[in-house]
């Protein structure tokens, strides 16, 4: 029964375009326009009923400050895209029209969707050609703070794919919404106008000219207006293509209640948050320190490029205050369950271990490194076979000098071993940052059949081969 349910659900989840065989990422970009052009055309779109939501992908000029604008691509003429608030288990249709000059598709990050609608061409979701249209129909699950974003190849063009403004909040409400807050805010962290530069260790990574929260630099956008005594709920997304971010709110602390949209077993008060690319944090803040404050990037050089937003109490004004922290502090393990569960869900079956070693392959000081998983670089990889219902332990070993925010599509995994905390329980995520020279173990149950993409969510790493496709037997 447990195996039939997702399959039955998947049958109802569709995207109205032809599926394609999984080729290489680059060749799919080329072939996708031909295949999808014959499938995703305006004609069928006209015959469809009105969708619940629609997204228009189009060029957009984003005013990030009084002096600077960014020419990018966005959803519905705004950055971030519109908040899509869906009900868990209630089918939804979303029309997507591509007015950009590139092939596009939308990935529904963190949802348990079938591969043909998940929004990754490597899994089989069709590309939407320029001028084309697609209708995504699916049943959203699980509940929690998810997001949607483009999932295309950027390569050396740092004005494409996740470097653009194509990201938005996706909130899947459960039937039992706790609602223990007075006001909620959705915040997206993003970096703009990147340029590939050589780093000290010989590899290349983007450096950015601007960084924003909800598309605005510090002091330019509207402040978060709060009242003394309120409990505000922050849903924070790092939509940056490549950068980790640390956030602090001067004069306040965050009670972290969920990571990647999944409630943590041990909510904690922390003074700062760290979000790797694609990670989300839900945190409650007690507004008990009236004033005008900065919620901003902790690192000075990043805040100087604009990453911050003013938090303003009612009847308070003046210059926003910022108190500079001296250290970066973050640790997933603090939110883990304090005691191990009495019986693991897979107690009846042994967990199958699957080691994954992340390494770079030097390609010259004037070129980005190629990335490999177990010595293989996408698309020349072997696809591991998963057995439905089986529990797997992925052992991430990162001997490289770069951190990697790795993401498993269509599944949620549990953090089981972290540096300094070898036996971890209860933290469910879909992205985990594997720091340089570190080892992290996660476990997941293979309960969503179909091709399942695994990759580093740092765009330039993914584009340079850091990707692998699991198949179900």
């Amino acid at each position: 029964m447990a195996q039939k349910t997702p399959a039955a659900k998947f049958a109802a989840d569709t995207v109205r375009c032809y599926r394609q065989s999984v080729l290489t990422r680059r060749s799919l970009l080329k072939l996708g326009s031909l295949a999808a052009a014959s499938a995703v055309v305006p004609r069928p779109a006209r015959s469809l009923d009105k969708a619940d939501y629609s997204l228009e992908i189009a060029p957009y000029t984003l005013e990030i400050s009084a002096r600077h604008s960014i020419k990018t691509t966005a959803y519905n003429g705004q950055v971030p895209g519109p908040l899509l608030r869906l009900r868990e288990g209630k089918p939804v249709t979303i029309d997507v029209t591509n007015h950009s000059e590139n092939e596009e598709l939308v990935h529904w990050h963190g949802l348990f969707l079938p591969p043909n609608v998940d929004g990754a061409m490597e899994e089989g979701t069709a590309m939407i050609p320029p001028g084309g249209h697609a209708r995504y129909t699916f049943t959203p699950a699980p509940s929690g703070f998810r997001w949607y974003h483009t999932h295309t190849f950027a390569g050396e063009d740092l004005k494409k794919s996740t470097y653009t403004g194509q990201h938005g909040f996706l909130m899947i409400d459960s039937a039992a919404n706790p609602g223990q807050y007075d006001q909620e805010f959705f915040l997206a962290l993003h970096d703009w106008e990147g340029e590939m530069t050589g780093s000290g260790d010989g590899s290349m990574n983007p450096e950015y000219r601007f960084a924003t929260i909800n598309g605005k630099t510090l002091g330019f956008g509207e402040p978060l207006r709060v009242q003394a005594g309120q409990r505000i709920l922050l849903h924070i997304l790092n939509s940056s293509a490549t950068e980790q971010h640390w956030l602090a709110l001067t004069g306040h602390q965050f009670r972290v209640i969920a990571l990647d949209g999944n409630p943590v077993p041990n909510p904690q008060l922390v003074s700062m948050l760290r979000l790797a690319p694609a990670e989300r944090i839900c945190a409650v803040v007690e507004m008990n320190n009236p004033g005008v404050w900065v919620l901003g990037e902790v690192r000075k050089h990043v805040q100087a490029t604009g990453m911050g937003i003013v938090v303003e109490y009612a009847n308070r004004n003046g210059k926003a205050a910022w108190q500079q922290p001296e250290k970066l502090m973050w640790n997933y393990g603090q939110f883990a369950a304090t005691t191990a569960p009495s019986a693991a869900p897979s107690a009846a079956k042994p967990v199958i271990e699957f080691p994954m070693v992340f390494e770079s392959r030097f390609a010259g000081h004037g070129a980005p490194d190629h990335w490999t998983i177990n010595g293989k670089s996408w698309p020349n990889v072997e696809s591991p076979l998963l057995q439905t219902g089986q529990r797997y332990r992925l052992i991430f070993k990162n001997p490289s000098t770069d951190d990697h925010p790795v993401h498993l599509h269509r599944h949620t995994f549990e953090l089981r071993s972290l540096p300094g905390k070898p036996n971890t329980h209860g933290i469910l995520k879909d992205v985990v940052l594997v720091e340089a020279n570190a080892e992290v173990h996660v476990e997941f149950t293979a309960d969503h059949p179909g091709p399942t993409l695994f990759h580093c969510h740092q765009q330039n790493h993914m584009d340079e081969g850091f990707m692998l496709l699991f198949h179900y037997a």
Partner: protein, 283 residues
């Protein structure tokens, strides 16, 4: 000398290979048949500059060690012969901003019969095109002015302006330094502006080991170049060892095929970056 030439030819520089064979053959011929160096040389800092500048709050300390196994053997115009001179140059480069730096040089020479001698000092401010301009190549401009004692250089005060263009493409690295020189005090003060270009082509064999060729020349006065016989022409086979972001290591051996050039020079650069100021995680 022939061994050296063969060594050069074995470099796999693909498209340049055939032309390089011809050029090197000609250079070897010049070397074998040239006898007199007509102009004093300044082999104190033998380096083709890249466009990057030193970051602010950091200092690059470099030692340039250059030895001339086969150089000018005669005293010309009161200038010591370069043969068997060992030059040690201390270069200190301080980053000012993300796009500017200033360098200081202390030149010394050691030679039998003369001992260790202070030769002179230079100062070299440099600016570069900021990354935010998104130029397809790295570009910077340095200006170097300084003094050197007459026994080591008849022109005691000189000024140089050096445009620098570089580009890394995959494993290849290219840099050109079409430098212009002006004597402020000395016999060449009325010569006008001289043209002294440098260029480099490098290839990353591994992440640590790069190899390539460096070219240095002094063509003489702009618009009135010396004859090839009297020009300074040097080609170095070099390797750069990228062992650490903090360290810079460059070694090379060069030939000077014209009469006006030291025939053999061995060079080495050892550099280390130092940073100071409170280095916080949150900077």
């Amino acid at each position: 000398m022939k061994v050296s030439c063969c060594f050069f030819i074995t470099l796999d520089v693909s498209n340049f290979k055939v032309n390089m064979r011809r050029i090197l053959f000609l250079l070897c011929l010049f070397t074998l048949f040239s006898e007199h160096a007509l102009h004093a040389q300044g082999n104190y800092e033998i380096q083709v500059y890249g466009a990057d500048t030193e970051p602010p709050k950091s200092l690059m300390v470099e030692i340039h060690s250059n030895f001339t196994p086969d150089g000018q053997k005669k005293l010309i115009g009161g200038v010591y012969p370069t043969n068997h001179q060992e030059h040690e140059t201390l270069e200190l480069t301080e980053g000012l901003t993300s796009w500017s730096e200033v360098g200081f040089y202390v030149f010394t020479s050691e030679q039998d019969g003369h001992g260790v001698q202070w030769v002179g000092d230079h100062i070299r401010p440099r600016i570069r095109v900021p990354d935010s301009w998104h130029w397809p190549v790295g570009v910077s401009l340095s200006s170097e002015i300084g003094y050197q004692r007459a026994p080591y250089s008849p022109d005691t005060w000189t000024w140089e302006i050096r445009p620098i263009v570089d580009k890394a493409v995959g494993r290849w690295y290219f840099a050109v330094n079409p430098a212009l020189e002006r004597t402020l005090h000395g016999p060449d003060v009325k010569q006008g502006i001289g043209f002294a270009p440098g260029a480099k082509i490098g290839y990353d064999f591994t992440k640590v080991v790069s190899g390539g060729l460096e070219y240095y020349a002094d063509y003489g006065r702009l618009g009135d170049f010396y004859s090839l016989h009297d020009q300074q022409q040097q080609i170095f086979l070099v390797t750069d060892l990228n062992v650490s972001p903090k360290w810079e290591i460059n070694v090379g051996v060069g030939i000077g095929p014209t009469a006006a050039t030291d025939h053999w020079i061995v060079k080495g650069i050892l550099g280390r970056h130092f940073s100071w100021g409170k280095q916080s995680q949150t900077d």
